[in-house]
């Protein structure tokens, strides 16, 4: 835009120069009367002055009716300062002249009033050359206005100005009127001057000069045609100015157009430019009457990019088109810019017109803004920068600020920011004699938005836009400015912002340097606590994916509500999207969070005062200090107490690093953390300490449970019993009101109940357990085992169809008791049954070696508020029981005893211990067994009474009841009766071996159980008992009388009673051939078709022995197949009941 022949026409720089540019000018100001509104005297407060200034400034347009009746629209511009030098350009552009003066002053006394008046008069003198009129607004002391005479406050006699007295507190109702009147007074003076000028003969006018031109025309022939035209042209232009000010738009347009033609012909560039500018200004006044200074409310930074565009020019233009047509010579909008451009180019040819050029550029830019023509405005503004002016730093700054303001108006935020930055640097440049870091900082701050820097780090990170390299640079400048301005706290804050938001755009060195700088800065700002609520991301924290609870020393950390216990409902309650922890914390107890932190800085970083940030319930965090080595992940545990129950949200943590306190929130971290972790805090719960009377076990083996608080280990011989006392102490301040004891192990419930026994009642008595109290209860531990050798046959003497497999599965509750099943699996191995027998078999398979039982005693307890909220704690006592073999029954058999009510159970017993064992196998019958030795003992046992079996016999249907059940009942009977008490002499260990699960063959069963038939045998009328020895002489006749009573509930059919004699040679040989030795009268067999219950069948016969000897008589009843329900298929031969023992008769 600038002329390439810059400065060709200008003279040296020593010329007088308008050194005070007015960047705020609008083109409309060409038409305005310039009035200085001056604050004089020290009494008037600036605030009051400003109030009045604002009030008076509103009168910027006054309508005056002139002598011809035409209404003139007079524009007024009020200013607060006016360098008197600027009046020098008044010939060139008349609106630069100061025409009016209004001074505002306050007085309390006559002396002050005189002083105010004196200052006013001196101002008048100062602007004497141009001033038309003046007013002095005087604020007297309160109440003095109504009656100034009374107070004797009078203006001095030499005070020629019209004084306006007001009370500063009153409404000053006629102030506007007075000012308007003053303006019209000014107008009339102006009008008279204009008329005076316009009446001059154009041929004879003197040459008007711009201030620097005077020298150029010295000695020139003013009468030359060229100069004549120059004079005429300049005067025409001058008249145009006056007309414009006097509100005669069409006249001024005419004058300007004429002037431009004349001046162009004489190459008077400066004044041509002036004429063009005047033309443009007048046209703009016509086209854009509403262009106002008050648009300055638009402030940098508050506007989003591109928004300051005017909504629409159409309406405005429509309005003005009409006007335009009515007034000749009005320029079109495009021409206004064009003429301004030309004017600026012409101005640029004169170095001394730099300020005129600058102002013209601004005015043109403002018109372009009004025209909504951003590029054009930008080109005008760009031009400003090139104009070389010897300005003070302050004026340069103003220039940049104005530029920035205008750039903002056209939406060029980047350029605006750039100008602001330049302005900021000017404040502290080396040329600036009074550097002002405060202003510099303020401008820097304003320039941030243009660089897309948002001071909220969260938004900043989210937006992630702008030019990082420049942003870093600008932030660094900002920090320096803040530091120099003395705002260390702000500098610290900006530094943290820089580190936080620009971390990824910084090189390693920069990261390090800036961090160190931050450290230095934060030292300075210590003592000025600034609430810095944002995350400092240079720590790059890695919160572990899981927040873990501390394993408390004495209690299990996991809490369960009893209602949901074991149902897995805790899992169900967890929502996948909800980062809720699966566990619960407890009020007033230490909770911990583990974090993994990485220090990305290349030096050791000390992080102090690290706490958890929480919301929800009240949480007291314990500050931690940690020193982070560079680049090595460091784990850290933060702990604290929740002081209330409810839901606790862990939102992040706060640190104090590099001297900066920062709150790092999870949601702002780059890693994909949930925005918070939620933990339920249960109401306070008691804490129970448990101990046992048994020694702790050396190791927990395969059961991993965090709840285990103590352990107990014991070694037991099979059959031995120990008592373990559990001591419970309430170490908390809350009474324990609920206690629930449970034993759990991998064993079958029945076996478990055998081994561990305790009384629930004992536990109930404990409650409530008050704080610091202790209570005990006892758990009995019994070395349960199978004492029967698994693989030995029931008896060597009897070919037994029940093989060893059966013994191993002797469990009293053999599942699936179907005959076929048992039959088919009789011959199978142990393993076949072990699966059925479950843990017990597994356990006992290890026999005769030792085995270990692990079990947990679970103590669920609660109290206080936690109980009401249905929370409880679980503590577990771990039991490790080692079971050692004691004795073992390898074989057994039953023998009839001397009486029919008893039988002998003959047992082969092995002492498996390494000590001598005293075995009490029957009351008062003891026996010593050497270590690893075996012995055979007969145990007298009462026969199994029918009452035990009666249910069995009474069973009506032929169900699956089998011999097995008989066997079971009998075996229970035996195990109840036989108690093998053992005592190890050396260690005093003692115990009882049980024969539980013993199996019996059918032969044995007959001996074991009482016969269903009631025998009554009489010989010669005497009742025979088993012990009796009966003797007789050979040839004697013995009368045998026998009666059989059916003690069953059903009738027995087809019962065959038979009597048989034989001789036992006691060498295993039985001689049944008795034909030659005895004779029987009566029948030896009798068939009873049916024997009803409670019925008695009788039989009688006589026997005569021929030869002496020992005879035995066997009486038996034989029931054929199926005659009795019990037999079933197991005994295909039918069943035989014998009278035991056989009666032996000694014949002499």
């Amino acid at each position: 835009m600038r002329s390439s022949v810059s400065y060709i026409l200008s003279t040296g720089p020593t010329e007088p120069n308008m050194s005070h540019p007015d960047y705020e000018q609008f083109s409309h100001d060409h038409a305005a009367l310039l009035i200085l509104l001056k604050h004089i005297g020290a009494q008037l407060k600036p605030k009051i002055f400003n109030k009045f200034y604002d009030r008076i400034s509103k009168i910027n347009e006054v309508k005056v009716t002139d002598s011809t009746g035409q209404v003139r629209n007079i524009l007024v511009r009020f200013i607060k300062e006016h360098p008197v030098e600027n009046n020098d350009w008044g010939d060139f552009q008349t609106h630069r002249r100061l025409l009016g003066l209004v001074s505002l002053g306050k007085y309390d006394s006559q002396v002050e009033l005189n002083e105010v008046c004196r200052v006013h008069e001196s101002l008048k003198v100062k602007y004497n050359a141009t001033l038309y009129d003046s007013r002095c607004i005087l604020f007297g002391p309160a109440g003095s206005i109504d009656d100034p005479e009374k107070e004797h406050f009078t203006t001095p006699s030499n005070f020629k100005t019209r004084a306006l007295f007001y009370d500063e507190l009153s409404v000053c109702a006629d102030l506007e009127q007075q000012i308007t009147e003053f303006i019209s007074a000014l107008f009339w003076v102006l009008e008279s001057k204009r008329l005076e000028r316009s009446r001059e003969k154009l041929e004879r006018v003197s040459l008007l000069y711009a201030p620097f031109e005077k020298k150029d025309f010295v000695g020139l022939d003013m009468e030359s045609r060229q100069n004549k035209k120059r004079c005429t042209g300049r005067m025409t232009k001058h008249l145009g100015d006056l007309c414009l000010q006097a509100g005669l738009i069409s006249e001024c347009l005419q004058y300007y157009t004429n002037a431009a033609d004349i001046l162009k012909s004489v190459n008077d560039w400066l004044w041509l430019g002036g004429a063009f500018e005047g033309l443009s200004a007048a046209s703009a006044l016509v086209l854009y009457p509403n262009m106002q200074r008050n648009e300055h409310f638009q402030r940098i930074g508050s506007l989003p990019e591109g928004s300051p565009k005017k909504p629409s020019m159409d309406t405005l233009q429509n309005q003005t088109v009409v006007v335009k047509k009515n007034i000749p010579n009005v320029l079109s909008p495009d021409d206004i810019a064009k003429r301004y451009r030309e004017a600026i180019i012409h101005y640029s040819k004169y170095q001394n017109a730099g300020i005129i050029e600058t102002e013209a550029s601004f005015k043109a830019a403002r018109i372009s803004v009004e025209q909504n023509h951003a590029l054009q405005a930008a080109s005008f503004l760009q031009n400003v920068v090139y104009i070389n002016l010897s300005l003070s730093e302050q004026e340069k700054i103003q220039r940049f600020e104005t530029l920035s303001d205008l750039y903002t108006q056209i939406g060029f935020n980047r350029k605006a920011a750039f100008c602001l930055r330049l302005a900021a640097t000017r404040y502290v440049s080396q040329q600036n004699p009074s550097p002002n870091w405060n202003r510099c900082y303020a401008l820097m701050l304003q320039s941030l938005s243009g660089h897309k820097l948002i001071l909220d780090p969260v938004e900043m990170i989210e937006a992630d836009q702008g030019w990082p390299i420049l942003q870093v640079q600008i932030l660094q400048d900002l920090i320096v400015a803040a530091k120099r301005a003395g705002y260390s706290a702000l500098a610290t804050r900006h530094m943290t912002f820089l580190l936080q938001t620009m971390w990824h755009n910084l090189s390693d060195t920069e990261q390090k340097e800036l961090s160190i700088q931050l450290q230095g800065l934060s030292v300075q700002c210590e003592g000025s606590p600034v609430p810095l609520v944002f995350t400092l991301r240079d720590l790059k924290p890695h919160l572990r994916p899981k927040v873990i609870e501390k394993e408390k020393e004495d209690t299990g950390p996991f809490l369960f509500t009893p209602i949901h216990f074991g149902t897995g409902s805790l899992d169900r309650r967890r929502d996948k999207t909800n980062p809720k922890m699966e566990f619960v914390w407890v009020e007033n107890e230490v909770c911990e969070v583990t974090l993994k932190l990485v220090n990305p800085l290349p030096f050791e970083l000390k992080v102090s005062n690290m706490r958890l940030l929480t919301s929800g319930v009240v949480f007291e965090s314990i500050p931690e200090t940690v020193v982070l080595a560079p680049d090595v992940p460091t784990s850290l545990t933060l702990s604290g107490w929740a002081r209330e129950s409810g839901e606790l949200e862990i939102t992040g943590y706060s640190t104090h690093a590099l001297g900066v306190k920062s709150n790092c929130r999870l949601k702002y971290m780059s890693n994909s953390f949930p925005s918070q972790y939620k933990v339920d805090v249960a109401p306070n719960l008691p804490v129970l300490q448990a101990s046992t009377s048994l020694p702790q076990s050396a190791s927990f083996s395969n059961i991993h449970d965090d709840n285990i608080v103590t352990s107990a280990s014991v070694s037991l011989y099979h059959g031995e019993t120990v008592c373990c006392t559990i001591t419970l102490t309430n170490t908390s301040q809350i009474p324990i009101e609920m206690l629930d004891v449970l034993i759990s192990s991998g064993l079958e419930p029945m076996v478990q109940d055998q081994i561990f026994q305790f009384d629930q009642e004992d536990v109930k008595i404990i409650l409530p357990l008050l704080p610091a109290q202790s209570a005990t209860f006892t758990v009995k531990i019994y070395g349960a085992a199978n004492f029967l050798a698994p693989n030995s046959a029931a008896s060597p003497t009897i070919p037994n169809e029940y093989n060893s497999g059966f013994f191993s599965s002797m469990s009293t509750s053999l599942p699936g008791t179907s005959l076929s099943r048992v039959n088919s699996s009789f011959r199978s191995s142990n393993s076949g049954h072990s699966s059925l027998a479950g843990g017990l078999t597994t356990l006992f398979q290890q026999q005769p070696g030792s085995s270990t039982v692990e079990a947990q005693l679970k103590l669920r307890y609660s109290g206080g508020g936690g109980l009401q909220a249905q929370y409880c704690r679980i503590s577990t006592v771990f039991f490790m029981v080692e079971l050692l073999p004691s004795l073992h029954v390898t074989n057994w058999d039953v023998l009839p005893a001397e009486t029919s009510t008893q039988f002998y159970l003959v047992l082969d017993i092995v002492n498996l211990t390494s000590q001598e064992m005293e075995l009490e196998y029957a009351p008062s019958k003891r026996m010593l067994v050497e270590a690893q030795e075996s012995c055979r003992v007969p145990v007298p046992i009462d026969r199994c009474p029918l009452s035990k079996l009666s249910n069995f016999y009474d069973e009506g249907d032929r169900s699956l009841r089998t011999l097995m059940d008989v066997n079971k009942i009998c075996s229970e009977h035996i195990s109840d009766q036989a108690k093998l008490k053992w005592l190890l002499n050396t260690t005093d260990a003692k115990g009882v071996a049980s024969l539980k699960g013993i199996t019996l063959s059918s032969r044995m069963l007959d001996i074991v159980r009482m016969s269903p038939l009631d025998w009554d045998v009489r010989i010669n009328g005497d009742t025979v008992t088993a012990q009796d020895d009966i003797s007789c002489e050979a040839g004697d006749s013995l009368e045998l009388q026998m009666s059989i009573g059916n003690s069953l509930g059903i009738s027995i059919k087809d019962l065959t009673l038979s009597i048989q004699f034989y001789q036992d040679y006691n060498n295993g040989t039985l001689n049944y051939r008795m034909d030659t030795r005895l004779a029987l009268s009566g029948t030896a067999k009798k068939v009873l078709p049916s024997l009803d219950p409670r019925d008695v069948a009788k039989h009688k016969c006589n026997v005569v022995f021929f030869t002496p000897g020992l005879y035995k008589m066997d009486i038996q009843c034989h029931s054929p197949d199926g005659s009795v329900h019990t037999t079933g298929q197991l005994i295909p031969m039918g069943h035989i009941w014998k009278f035991t023992p056989p009666i032996s008769i000694q014949v002499k």
Partner: protein, 136 residues
């Protein structure tokens, strides 16, 4: 020929910046950033429908001239030219832009480049340097 070339994404953040003299990069960044205002203004819908991608001169500074070029996807190419170089013709600037555009299209076709990320490819940097220095 040119002293600096820049590629600016559609969100007006820099994607690529290349200077003949690396020491002046910061300076040029300011200049290029400021020129974005002009580009935006030229692209604003109210002005006039612009079918050409070449935007012409954006700024004429004392020492530098800044030229702009906008692709259909609003990717901006900016070239800074030494204004003392009077031999440089408008056509040469245009052809420079076309070459840069072609290079950019090739680079974006790289499946490993995530659109919108700053361009770090060394080959690309090398090609652009060659274009602006006129060695291609």
């Amino acid at each position: 020929m040119a002293v600096c070339a820049a590629i600016v994404g559609k969100d007006n953040s820099p994607k690529f910046f290349c200077c003949v003299n690396p020491d002046e990069e910061l300076n040029f960044q300011y200049k290029v950033l400021s020129s974005l205002d002009i580009i935006e203004e030229k692209l604003s819908p109210g002005i006039k429908p612009n079918t050409e991608m070449y935007l012409g001169i954006l700024y004429s500074l004392e020492n530098w001239k800044i030229y702009g070029y906008v692709t259909n996807t609003k990717i901006k190419f900016i070239i800074v030219v030494d204004s003392s170089n009077l031999t440089l013709r408008d056509n040469e600037i245009r052809s420079m832009f076309r070459k840069i555009h072609a290079e950019y299209a090739d680079m974006v076709s790289n499946p490993f480049y995530i659109p919108g990320e700053p361009i770090t490819s060394k080959t690309f940097t090398c090609s652009i340097k060659n274009i602006i220095t006129g060695t291609v």
